[in-house]
């Protein structure tokens, strides 16, 4: 039996970063807001207190904070004629769950996009000509410029108390920051965290090569910070348990440390946990969302009517719910038509572990998910002339470690076996004297990389799993070769005794066993044209104007930076448009 509840002004699907921002902004506008979260309520206490948070097995390996794949997962295949098989164990990317979502267990690497990232198609065509792009590459422009987005990127940084060194304020280049960043209206809320030994060695080498290293911008506060909602964060102490973990010190920005304490005080906001939305319900004419259907903790089906529906779950779940609800035209890779599921993308990493002499006290266990590392941005986005290299995109190169947790972050020199006495000896002798250099790079979108519903596999509620079709393309192999070579030049300058190289080479397939990033993107992309995008510049559905879809699902392709800063900016821009325009005059905010 299905229960139908009293209608509310807005229903929010998923209470992670974007759901929390929208809940706060809409509740502050006086709307009655119900947030439906399929996972549990989680908070610093009791869920990740000191020192219980420092548990690598529980959080890092078993993935206490992640989606239980036994309940729900995705299927993956490499090509459109292949058979997809389930992603049975979490490895390549981590699917979030629970209140706070991935905002709880992210690194806090908090970037803005480069201005050209938002106009990536037209920028590259303008500079290199249309023929420079491979035929099957389907990259597109955002329908928003960097300058339009800047106030909202700034707003998200203020929310997080992000630490960093500005490199460009109002067009003026500032020494010590990122000279390639777009103009900022002001600096970071808090100064950068101190550099770790690994980062210092990297930065020194990078400088010798003529680069401009700068501290990685980190949503790990360097000082206590009270954000505009009145919520206060504590300062990071580089504890080494950051990504995959909740922050026991209230330092890493998460919905719990930046929004929920204020949001939960609001009497017009209600959070319902263990409530899994199975469908966005539509009016008979298919033009309006009437609310959602969800399954509660007891397994009962409940209908929550609402005037406004905010879809704010993780990227892949956003796409799947749109497909399950029949909203928008599903993407067809054979014809290239349709939009839902289109332009799935990922990122490409490479890595080198460096091993120094025993007198080098690198202490890799001192680290934060973002703070304490140094970056160079010379080879990201279109910060360099791609013409001689035959690819578009790029990535940043970073030096330092996020921690030295021995199960996941202990490196051994090249040639060391994976087990036995030699492995143990290597682990013992090199642990304290090793660091890492990594590249973190873009992946373009392609005609054959997309998301649809799996015909075979189902989740615990009996719904089809999302099916990801994805593999690497030539552009990315070239890109990673080029950027990794630049990284290895820095590695050589750092002069380690030995170093490893891990990278994707031509012919290597997308490997679901190797963690790279959790940054899967696309499937409900933003753009200027309803024929080629699912949502407009405000992340409003072209098809259903009282539905907004927030998150990395909106990215038309994946950029070299970590996505959260851009997600936050797009979300605040959408929230602002809802408050200032939509609520006054509900309907499409952009005419198709």
């Amino acid at each position: 039996m299905t229960t139908t509840l009293k209608s509310v002004d807005a229903v929010v699907i998923g209470l992670g970063w974007t759901g929390s921002i929208l809940s706060m902004e809409l509740a502050s506008s006086g709307l009655s807001v119900v947030a439906l979260e399929r996972g549990a309520y989680r908070d610093t206490s009791p869920d990740w207190t000191y020192p219980r948070a420092a548990d690598e097995l529980k959080y890092g390996i078993r993935g206490e904070l992640f989606q239980r794949l036994s309940k729900d997962t995705v299927t993956i295949r490499h090509a459109i004629d292949g058979t997809a098989v389930p992603y049975r164990q979490l490895n390549a990317f981590l699917l979030p769950n629970n209140v706070g979502g991935a905002g709880v267990h992210w690194n806090g690497q908090h970037y803005r996009p480069s201005p050209e990232d938002l106009k990536f198609y037209s920028h590259n065509v303008e500079r290199y000509g249309a023929k420079f792009l491979p035929e099957d590459m389907t990259i597109q422009d955002y329908d928003v410029t960097y300058d339009e987005l800047e106030p909202y990127l700034d707003q998200f940084e203020r929310l997080c108390g992000t630490s960093g060194q500005a490199g460009n304020i109002g067009g003026k280049i500032i020494a010590g920051g990122n000279p390639f960043e777009g103009p900022r209206s002001r600096g970071y809320p808090t100064p950068p965290l101190p550099d770790t030994e690994g980062a210092l060695r990297f930065a020194a080498a990078a400088k010798q090569l003529g680069y401009s290293p700068f501290p990685q911008p980190a949503a790990n506060c360097s000082q206590p910070w009270t954000n505009p909602y009145g919520v206060r964060l504590g300062p990071c102490n580089l504890c080494g348990y950051c990504e995959r973990y909740g922050c026991y010190l209230y330092s890493k920005a998460s919905p719990q440390t930046t929004i929920l304490p204020a949001l939960l005080q609001k009497s017009n906001f209600e959070m319902r946990t263990h409530s899994t939305v199975t469908k966005i319900n539509m009016s008979a004419d298919g033009k309006r969302a009437t609310g959602v259907t969800y399954v509660d903790a007891a397994g009962r089906e409940v209908i929550q009517p609402a005037d406004l529906v905010i879809l704010s779950s993780f990227q892949i779940n956003n796409v799947r719910l749109l497909l399950l609800s029949g909203i928008g035209k599903p993407y067809d890779p054979r014809t290239g038509t349709g939009v839902i599921g289109k332009n799935f993308a990922y990122q490409m990493m490479s890595e080198s572990a460096l091993f120094f002499d025993k007198d080098a006290a690198i202490n890799p266990f001192i680290g934060a998910g973002a703070g304490g590392q140094q970056i160079i941005d010379e080879f990201n986005a279109d910060h360099f002339d791609h013409a001689p290299h035959g690819f578009v995109g790029g990535g940043y190169i970073l030096g330092g470690t996020t921690g030295g947790r021995p199960l996941q972050q202990l490196n051994v020199p090249p040639g060391t076996p994976a087990w036995g006495a030699k492995w143990k000896k290597a682990a013992k002798e090199t642990y304290l004297h090793s660091t890492r250099v990594q590249t973190h790079a873009s992946v373009m979108s392609y005609r054959d990389a997309y998301v649809d519903l799996d015909p075979t596999y189902r989740n615990a509620l009996g719904q089809p799993l999302a099916r990801i079709t994805f593999d690497w393309h030539e552009n990315e192999y070239r890109m990673t070769r080029f950027v990794t070579d630049r990284a290895l030049e820095i590695v050589a300058k750092m002069n380690p005794k030995s170093h490893t190289v891990t990278m994707r080479r031509p012919g290597d397939r997308f490997n679901t066993r190797q963690y790279q990033t959790t940054h899967i993107t696309g499937g409900a992309i933003t753009g200027a044209n309803p024929q080629t995008s699912a949502v407009n510049r405000y992340c409003q559905s072209w098809d259903v104007s009282n539905l907004f879809v927030f998150g990395a699902s909106a990215f038309p392709q994946n950029l070299g930076y970590n996505p959260t800063g851009l997600i936050g900016g797009l979300t605040y821009m959408g929230a602002h448009a809802i408050r200032e325009q939509y609520l006054k005059s509900p309907g499409p905010l952009v005419s198709a």
Binding site: S45, P46, T49, P51, P224, G230, L233, L264
Partner: protein, 443 residues
Amino acid sequence: MKATFRRPAARLGGVAFLVAMGLALQPAGRGHAQTPAQADSALIEHGAYVAVLGDCMACHTVPGSTSYSGGLPLATPVGTIYSTNITPDRQTGIGTYSYEDFEQAVRHGIRKDGKTLYPAMPYPDFRHIDDADMHALYAFFMSGVKPVHHQDNAPAISWPLSMRWPLAWWRWMFVPGTNVPSAEVEHDALADRGAYLVEGAGHCGTCHTPRGFALEQKAFSPQDGSAYLAGSRIDHYTVSNLRGGDIVGLGSWNEDDIVRFLQSGRNQHSAVFGGMADVVYQSTQHMSEADLRAIAHFLKTLPPPADNRKFSYDPAVKQALFRGDVTERGALDYLNNCAACHRSSGMGYEDTFPALAGNPVVNDPDPASLLHIVLTGATIPGTHVAPTHYTMPSFGDRLSDQEVADILTFIRSGWGNHASSIDAEQVGKFRKLIAPTNEKKTL
């Protein structure tokens, strides 16, 4: 519904708070005859504020149940008593009380039936509430609170202490005259307002003033001597001394610090814990800025003791820990358990993690609060101006008695702190005191 997570108490704010407490915005008084029908909404709202000042909610509401319906068990040295239903329900509440009945109960501890209330009801302090506030309070409880049918529980006190007539004797003996005006301090209107609030509705002395052999409050105002607000012990917490001493007292806090503390539960020196956390959450954060300033101003008129000593920060411990020198007993345990938040400097972080250096709670001769917090943890309540509810986890199951003793001795002597050392036996006894089943860890 299990699927629904709500924090009812955590969502109240401003007017919403008053409404949630039962302030009827629609015409008041359907069905309860005693209502002063003309009680205007301004008077009721004023009364609601007086109820906030007096934190009536704290005792007269079981968390999660209807406001003011009573039933909260209150452990007293003589046995458990239960707070009463003070909603305007005619059968089980105070619906038949006239203003005079109400005034007799609140100010003088005498029920409508003539019996004396247990002095858990702070009527000795409420004597100070003036007529205007008292009328408003009456209007609020009669017209602003929803009547709830809820029978009072009988107190669980065994004979002969269960007899009520000695309470009247106690009242005659220990509660000085009636309607005593609150202190006047050098014709300082702000301090007078503060005194009115602290001595009267706020009934701060109920907890913060020590009690005598018959559990009588030793002082009711500054004029009664240095016992007034000199600290006490309740529920196995040390209740802070609010007088002017620097090491133990509010000497090192300025008025802004006090206002900030009462408004937010935290300030650059310290953070609220124990019973005071509820007081901040339910009462003081809702007080007007002007009233908080008055309270702060009044408290700062209380003098330090004659032998007052100023706190002077000593960097030796900080420097040793920074070098990684943990040779001092307790130093390694401090680093392993405390330093992540309170820092090796002992300074914590302003408004975030309380400082231990120079903190009166740390320096109090009575270590009860320290022991209590280390063993069971503490949470700063999220307030309107500071919504973050920082929590210190409990360390009771991680630390042995000896380790707790070593840590407390270390922090009570480090950074310029100057308090007695603690031994393992004290810790063990305290563990049993707060929870007889709280066994020390076996590792």
